[in-house]
């Protein structure tokens, strides 16, 4: 019986374990290792075995303190993550509450519409905003403002530093992230007992009062969950930013977060410095692991996991 169970388990679980080992565990070890080497331009033959100790970390912290470009990257990361996070969480909350109070068919249309940014290919979604914020008169925003007489000539929005560039990247990523909060909050709202809402309605409460007094207090945990989850995802994802910067829609200096900095330093045009990139990636990973750990602890996920009753033994 024992041997059979082991055979079954390895049949079901080994593909997943191999994938996690190959693409999470080994890369994590490799990234840490590269951060201790002098790896440049992916010259593996020459630099893979050239260990330099903490040199890359010293360089990184020196840059944090003295390199104006790096300080811009850090500042952009803080501003970008902070403001986008607020937009994501509250935008998602507003959408979920809004769709709670309207009829089912309008609600699912709205929800699908707001899933569009998350579902459409990154390149197409960025292309849409490329045209929207374009610095010439084909840019939609420019032409609207020019027609209204606000502007006399087109403005390259993303090149105005810092707030023009920041506004564009916050706007573009803000719309993607809203759907996550919307979905979590919607499924939370569906689990709230209907009787509470009925009772409040009978007492004559308005939608706003119901939201504030009943619905929002009951979604505290979901709120925390969305907050931490979205924080991690904003800190570490960069595909949209990559394209906006690559296409010169936004200023390179004020459109680059730390995650994008890692990618561009390791794979970008020109001189590449994987040692430095890996050191920055290790820092990000530490924040990520800590953040994930805090999420699990705060939300007590282990209580959600029930014991299976499948075995008859």
């Amino acid at each position: 019986m024992k041997g059979e169970k082991l055979r079954n388990l390895s049949f079901f679980l080994s593909p997943m374990i191999i994938m996690v080992g190959l693409f999470y565990l080994i890369p994590l070890i490799f990234t840490i290792y590269i951060s201790f080497t002098k790896m440049r331009n992916w010259n593996i033959e020459r630099y893979l075995t050239e260990v330099v100790g903490l040199y890359n970390y010293q360089r990184l912290f020196h840059m944090f303190q003295h390199d104006p470009l790096m300080r811009t990257v850090l500042l952009t990361t803080v501003v970008f993550v902070g403001i986008t996070l607020i937009i994501n969480v509250f935008g998602g909350l507003l959408l979920a509450l809004g769709t709670f109070f309207v009829n089912e068919s309008s609600a699912s249309t709205i929800r699908l519409l707001w899933l569009l940014p998350r579902m459409s290919p990154i390149a197409v979604y960025s292309l849409v905003w490329y045209y929207f914020f374009h610095g010439s008169d084909i840019g939609t925003l420019n032409s609207i403002l020019m027609k209204l007489g606000v502007l006399s000539q087109p403005i390259p929005w993303g090149q105005i530093v810092p707030w023009g560039a920041w506004s564009v990247i916050i706007f573009v990523n803000g719309l993607v992230g809203v759907s996550f909060g919307m979905i979590v909050f919607t499924s939370a709202l569906n689990q709230i007992p209907k009787e509470l809402v009925i009772a409040a309605r009978v007492d004559g409460a308005s939608a706003w009062q119901i939201s504030r007094r009943i619905l929002i207090p009951m979604m505290k945990w979901h709120f925390l969950y969305v907050l931490t989850w979205q924080f991690l995802s904003l800190l570490t994802t960069y595909p949209h930013l990559f394209l906006l910067v690559q296409w010169d829609l936004v200023s390179r200096d004020y459109g680059t977060t730390l995650a994008l900095y890692v990618y561009n330093t390791a794979f970008g045009r020109g001189e590449q410095d994987q040692g430095l990139a890996a050191a920055a990636a290790v820092l990000l990973s530490i924040i990520g692991i800590l953040g994930g750990f805090v999420t699990l602890k705060v939300l007590q996920f282990e209580k959600m996991i029930h014991e299976p009753r499948g075995d008859i033994e």
């Binding site: 709205i110 290919p121 609207i144 809402v197 690559q246 994930g292 499948g310």
Partner: protein, 289 residues
Amino acid sequence: MKDVETRPKKGEWIIVLTILFASLPLILGFALLIISSFSRDMVTDLSLDSFRPTIENWINVFQGRLAITGGIRQNILKITLNTLVVALGVSGIVTLISTLAGYSLSRMKFRGRKLMMLLLLMLHAFPGVALIVGVYLLYRLTFPQEPSFVRLYSFFYVILARAALEIPMSVWLMKGFFDTIPWEFEWSGIIDGASRIRVWRQIMLPLIKPGILAVALFGFLAGWQDLIYVRTFLIDQTLATFIEANIEAEYSHMPLIAAAGTLYLLPTIMFFLTAQQLLLQGYSGGIKG
């Protein structure tokens, strides 16, 4: 939406209008992209003069003629096919692995199960993309010596690596689907003396079809839309890297890129129209756990 009959009807349209107003840039942006692909000039400037209807852009896209003048040609059909191969590959691997692992996490008791599930949840939150430097080193170290295998290997590797990013979430999603199946189905099979593997294949898989479909769909979209992994590992071009490379090129004709973008958007729109319920259900299922 679960609000009750006591709800006043008159306030409803105000909420709907407000949300639609907030969604205006979103609707406008996508609509202008699609309309521009059928016009001689970009209509993103919102002026009626720019809209001169034509299907020339689409013909040029399928012929791979990037510029109106000059001889730059690219085989867009092959690029689309590359994108499709990556998407199907990711979808297949994610579905297979999560159907296997989801079953045992939902139905089997073993030591370390809880830890494994928490670990998966953490990997889901973990910055998978932050490890790309390490993923690339693994790629380079396993690179085949034989030059004729290189392109094939790059497909193989990008599919595996991209699928790995989706696995934590898909396993949780799949486990959630298995959880909804009553235990009696399972017990009847085990009492008849079937092994767990047979129970999985012959009893559970047919019952779990909607879940398999949802996971496959998400895997497909993940592979289809990917940009970073494809441009880092894949030697051939996909639609994502095609658009990335051509937007700022001097020679490229803007409405033509809009047509390529619309072509790239087609599967998303198709799934939108056909699988709405599955998508909404899948997204919330994956999050609830």
